[in-house]
């Protein structure tokens, strides 16, 4: 029920509506809950509504940490 996925905003229309992209597919998205959104931002979309922006810096830091975890596993497995 509370699933939401990150999508990239690619267009903004009037009336709090815009278009966001995920895996090559375009979706109409309602944007009134994130008034500061700009084209190019990643947003978290739930039932057709963007409920928050995704902080790319935080996401990239976490991804880097996870790739270190994967390297640690591979290094341990090779020993």
């Amino acid at each position: 029920m509370c699933l939401a996925v990150p999508m990239k905003v690619i267009d903004l229309h009037g009336d709090n509506m815009g278009v966001a992209e995920l895996g090559g597919t375009h979706y109409n998205v309602e944007l009134s809950l994130i008034p500061d959104v700009k084209i190019g931002n990643y947003v978290i979309v739930h039932a057709g509504y963007a409920i928050e922006m995704l902080d790319e810096e935080e996401a990239n830091e976490r991804l880097e940490f996870f790739s270190h975890m994967a390297e640690a596993y591979q290094a341990d497995s090779e020993e």
Partner: protein, 365 residues
């Protein structure tokens, strides 16, 4: 699929499994078994789908909590929706709701009896539906926790703006933090730490859980719904418990802010007000629900059409209430997998794709 795939790296997952095993050994030397509750149905589903339970040591147990809004919807709410459909109104709903048992039947059966029940992906469609059917009333089944409540509340100003009068919401909005407090004060419930929901927290903010950590010394870690997010959360909860150092951690900081989404909170505050709410299988939890404020009651279907959404009688043999509080596992219910299956559900935990019984049936049987 940027910002999805990197959070599913298998090798990183295996490394987390090793590190969780180390925490398991620490806990074992203290003769401890810890029970962590994932509050949210989306976590329940992800934990089952990725087989996370299977890679944990025996002394780290995961329990599913009451975090599926479909599962905690009172039978009387379904009865009210069926009653409104029988009066000729159009019922617009998320797909999960149509098989939830009411006192006598569900919306799918009512639909086969000519009730006009439409399933939508986005609630915005229901406003369009109202515009396309100006001579009829459209009622949207507005259930949900904070995540869904915020988008659904935007429908009220939108309907006002667009002058749509034949549209209303049958609400069953519920709040997660009061339910967590209710669980912690229930002597039958035994929880050592919470895996806190990703998108409820997006709206309410991580600070909302601070009282749980401070008053009950129960650690809370907010996790995203990807498998590495969950494994990281479990590792940190186990580590906190092994070291007797319960704190609040936000592992989903790429989305969740300490104060949450203030635009959403302001919107909810403008249009909704707190009330006691009935949680199916659990009972009334004080101030755990929200209803539409009096000034906007023309959008409240329960007032507009005088129907009651509480006080329903679910099947007496159904153990969903115990499953939702984490006091039994789905397979401990005598009806699990026999009388009660996803194709023919008796209880709401088997209906919703994110219910703990449905997840257990699909992945763990």
């Amino acid at each position: 699929m940027k910002y999805i795939e990197g959070f599913r790296n298998a090798d990183a997952g295996k490394q987390f499994a090793r590190e969780i095993a180390i925490e398991g050994v620490k806990l074992a030397t203290q003769n401890r078994v810890i029970r962590l509750m994932e509050v949210c149905g989306s976590h329940t589903m992800a934990i089952s789908r990725y087989g996370i339970r299977d890679i944990l040591p025996d002394n780290i147990e995961l329990l599913s909590g009451p975090g599926c809004p479909v599962c905690v919807t009172d039978a009387a709410y379904i009865d009210a929706a069926i009653e409104l459909a029988s009066r000729g109104h159009i019922i617009s709903t998320f797909g999960d709701m149509i098989k939830v048992p009411g006192s006598e039947q569900n919306l799918a059966l009512a639909r086969s009896d000519a009730a006009d029940v439409r399933v939508c992906y986005s609630p915005l469609e229901s406003i369009e539906l109202a515009k396309d059917n100006p001579d009829r009333e459209v009622v949207f089944l507005a259930i949900g926790f904070e995540t869904t409540m915020a988008p659904l509340t935007t429908l009220i100003p939108r309907a006002v703006r667009e002058g749509v009068d034949n549209f209303s919401l049958l609400t069953a909005f519920k709040l997660v933090p009061p339910a967590l407090f209710a669980l912690l004060s229930d002597p039958a419930v035994n929880v050592d730490g919470f895996i806190c929901p990703a998108h409820v927290s997006t709206i309410i903010g991580s600070d909302a859980y601070r009282p749980i950590v401070e008053k009950h010394s129960v650690p809370c870690v907010i996790c995203g719904f990807e498998p590495l997010d969950i494994l990281y959360g479990i590792k940190n909860l186990a580590n906190q418990l092994a070291n007797d150092r319960p704190v609040l951690e936000n592992q989903y900081s790429r989305v969740v802010k300490p104060q949450g989404n203030k635009t959403a909170q302001k919107l909810i505050e403008t249009y909704l007000e707190p009330t006691d709410a009935s949680w199916r299988g659990i009972g009334i939890i004080p101030q755990s629900g929200l209803v539409i404020r009096q000034g906007f009651s023309k959008f409240d279907a329960s007032i507009k059409f005088s129907v009651s959404t509480e006080g329903g009688e679910p099947d007496i043999n159904c153990r969903c209430g115990d499953v939702l509080r984490g006091t039994i596992r789905p397979s401990d219910c005598p009806m699990f997998g026999s009388e009660c299956t996803p194709a023919n559900p008796v209880g709401p935990c088997m209906v919703s794709s994110e219910g703990s019984c449905a997840a257990h049936y699909k992945y763990a049987r």
